[in-house]
């Protein structure tokens, strides 16, 4: 028997709770099977900022896709705002992505033929809301790009594009913002600017989960989760985990 709702304490749910989550590609053919996410459990509290670090191919993106309801886990449980995601149908999952998730990609993923404000407006249109233009403009203001509202992506710098993408992720006031290497395509200075912006949003109460290769990015989060081969090998305060991560990889630099 499975519970549709995770037991809660008080009035609000924990934004994200996962238990023994697995994502196995080609699960039906043993010789091809890839255990991209292999039995992961954690919870993310409201207002937390978490960095996920680990070597390339260890399953970070896969985990983030599952958290973002873009992908279904092979097994395990996932409660988003207290609701069991496994119980959701396609439309409900689209609605969950719309209401509860803000996704920020490494390659921005803005629609090239729309200007900044239209890109930010898109989630509100799919939410069927009114006043979408005004709300999109306010979100652009929050990321400091009100004056670029009518610029197309190809008229914006990389850092500006990522800020538009962050505005798009924020505009529906989601439970959690997920970033898959959001500074990965930026030079270190604009990367720092984007991180400052995310830091400010976090300070304003946004829950953030970032996948990153950049230890300085990881260091500025509350908490760091270390992954290897689809498993968690460490989960704790940023300073301690980064120390462990550096130790662990010391051999690679020797």
């Amino acid at each position: 028997m499975s519970l549709a709702h995770e037991p809660t304490t008080g009035a609000t749910h924990t934004p994200v709770v996962i238990e023994e989550l697995r994502k196995i590609y080609h699960a039906d053919r043993a010789e091809l099977a890839v255990r991209a996410v292999d039995g992961i459990s954690f919870r993310i509290e409201r207002g937390e900022s978490v960095a996920i670090v680990g070597p390339s191919g260890c399953g970070k993106s896969t985990l983030l896709h599952v958290l973002g309801c873009l992908d279904r886990p092979t097994s395990g449980r996932y409660f988003l705002e207290g609701r069991d995601v496994a119980q959701l149908d396609e439309d409900d999952r689209a609605r969950a992505r719309n209401r509860h998730i803000g996704f920020v990609f490494q390659s921005f993923n803005l629609l090239p033929r729309m200007d900044a404000v239209e890109n930010v407006e898109l989630p509100l249109l799919y939410a069927g809301q009114r006043d979408t233009r005004a709300r999109a403009l306010r979100a652009l203001e929050r990321v400091g790009l009100a004056d670029r509202a009518h610029h197309r992506p190809n008229e914006l710098s990389g850092g500006q594009k990522q800020r538009v993408a962050i505005a798009r992720a924020l505009v529906t006031e989601p439970s959690i913002v997920l970033g898959d290497e959001p500074t990965g395509a930026l030079d270190s200075r604009t990367g720092r600017e984007v991180m400052e912006l995310l830091g400010r949003l976090h300070a304003e109460g946004t829950t953030i989960v970032l996948v990153t290769h950049d230890l300085s990015v990881a260091r500025s989060q509350d908490r760091v989760i270390r992954m290897r081969d689809g498993k968690i090998v460490g989960d704790g305060p940023a300073a301690a985990e980064i120390e462990a991560f550096v130790q662990e990889n010391a051999g690679d630099f020797a």
């Binding site: 896709h65 973002g68 873009l70 992908d71 396609e90 439309d91 689209a94 609605r95 992505r97 719309n98 209401r99 996704f103 990609f105 993923n109 803005l110 629609l111 033929r113 729309m114 898109l122 989630p123 249109l125 799919y126 939410a127 069927g128 798009r168 529906t172």
Partner: protein, 400 residues
């Protein structure tokens, strides 16, 4: 997403790729243009045929000999004679009769030579058919009785024999007999079957006695006093002819009486069939247009896979994506339909202006063209749209 947002999105994505949109719509444009032009020609032909028959006079009955049942096809039909026409003229409600004989013969003027329909008619023919000579004179009763060797030429015949010169008073040969041209008919501008423009008229007596040597009529045209009496008169003629032809009660009629309305209906049916035939050929090009839309939509879905992934990531449901691409296909096909309607209208105008054919675009054609456009957009857009909507979001986002 709200439907008008979907339509706006579709419109923008089409507007931003004008050339492709135009090429996608091209098939539809050609198809709709063809359908509209064909319908306009068909409707115009129908109207001109109806107009021609109506121009004969609104209360005419045509009596024709009917081949006796069981007779071989080639057997001569020899039932109607002039005395029948004279008797019909005496009936109540009959305003005039025109006995007519038909034949075909060589007509020659110097080197010019053509085969033409030769109609034997009386002096009553022209007024009864609402025809008039453009130059010269009509026949007199004496021409008929005296078997005068005079002829009236249809406009086309006169032009072919004489060009721009006057034919009046010239000597021509009909089946080797010398005739004097006394009149030329005004051009009716009609084309095709039994147009007076293509006839040569000679006095009925001459037709029987000099040219074809037979005294049986091809038809008797009867003018009824008023249209309301048409049915009564038709019955009276039927009774009279059965009596005159001594038909037994169980014998079928050896003649056939047809009214204007029946001829209109027959001609309408013929042109209608013709139009439907051409129209379905044109409709095939609509099918090709639809396949063109499907093809480009499939390419578009592939090219915009990443966009589809992004839309899904920010909350688009499958049906939002489906609708977006479907609306795009329908917008293209409506666009093609509208341009096609305009070009079809232009083509109909040009055909009438420079081709000399009457063209009329029936009002239903506009609705039909638009409806068919929408239907084609849906039918051929739904496949690509479904493909777009069933993409896996993670796969789609990975796409370049």
């Amino acid at each position: 997403m709200l439907i008008h947002e979907t339509a706006r999105t579709a419109w923008r994505s089409l507007a931003q790729n004008r050339l492709r949109t135009a090429l996608t719509a091209l098939g539809m444009i050609i198809g709709v243009t063809a359908v509209i032009a064909v319908l306009a020609i068909g409707e115009g032909a129908k109207a001109s045929v109806e107009g021609r028959i109506r121009a004969l006079g609104s209360n005419l009955l045509t009596v024709r000999p009917e081949r006796a049942q069981g007779a071989v096809r080639s057997a001569r039909v020899e039932t109607l004679v002039r005395a029948d026409a004279d008797a019909i003229a005496e009936l109540d409600g009959v305003e005039g009769v025109s006995p007519e004989s038909t034949g075909t013969a060589q007509v020659k003027y110097r080197e010019a030579n053509l085969s033409s329909s030769i109609q034997g008619v009386t002096a009553d023919f022209l007024p009864l058919r609402s025809l008039d000579v453009a130059s010269g004179i009509g026949f007199s009763p004496d021409d008929d009785l005296g078997r005068a060797r005079v002829a009236i030429l249809g406009a086309n015949v006169a032009y072919e024999l004489f060009g721009e010169r006057s034919a009046i008073g010239e000597r021509i040969q009909i089946a080797g007999n010398g005739f004097t041209v006394v009149g030329v008919l005004g051009a009716k501008g009609d084309v095709g079957f039994m147009s007076p423009d293509d006839m040569v008229l000679v006095p009925l007596g001459t037709h029987e006695g000099v040219l074809f040597g037979q005294s049986y009529l091809g038809a008797i045209t009867v003018k009824v006093r008023s249209e309301g009496e048409s049915e009564d008169v038709r019955e009276r003629i039927g009774e009279l002819l059965r009596l005159r032809h001594r038909l037994r009660a169980d014998a079928p009629d050896d003649f056939e009486i047809r009214s204007q309305t029946e001829m209109l209906a027959t001609m309408g049916a013929i042109t209608g069939t013709f139009t439907a035939l051409l129209g379905s050929v044109a409709a095939v090009s609509l099918l090709v247009g639809g396949i063109g839309i499907m093809n480009i939509m499939l390419v578009s879905v592939r090219e915009r896979t990443r966009e589809i992934g992004v839309r899904m990531a920010v909350g688009a449901r499958r049906r939002d994506i489906l609708l977006q691409f479907l609306v795009e296909a329908v917008v293209v096909s409506i666009f093609g339909g509208l341009v096609g309607i305009f070009l079809g209208w232009l083509a109909a105008f040009a055909i009438a202006r420079f081709g000399g054919w009457e063209t009329i675009i029936p009002t239903y054609a506009y609705g039909l063209a638009l409806g068919v456009s929408i239907a084609i957009g849906i039918v051929f857009g739904v496949g690509p749209a479904r493909r777009a909507s069933t993409l896996d979001p993670v796969e789609a986002l990975r796409q370049e």
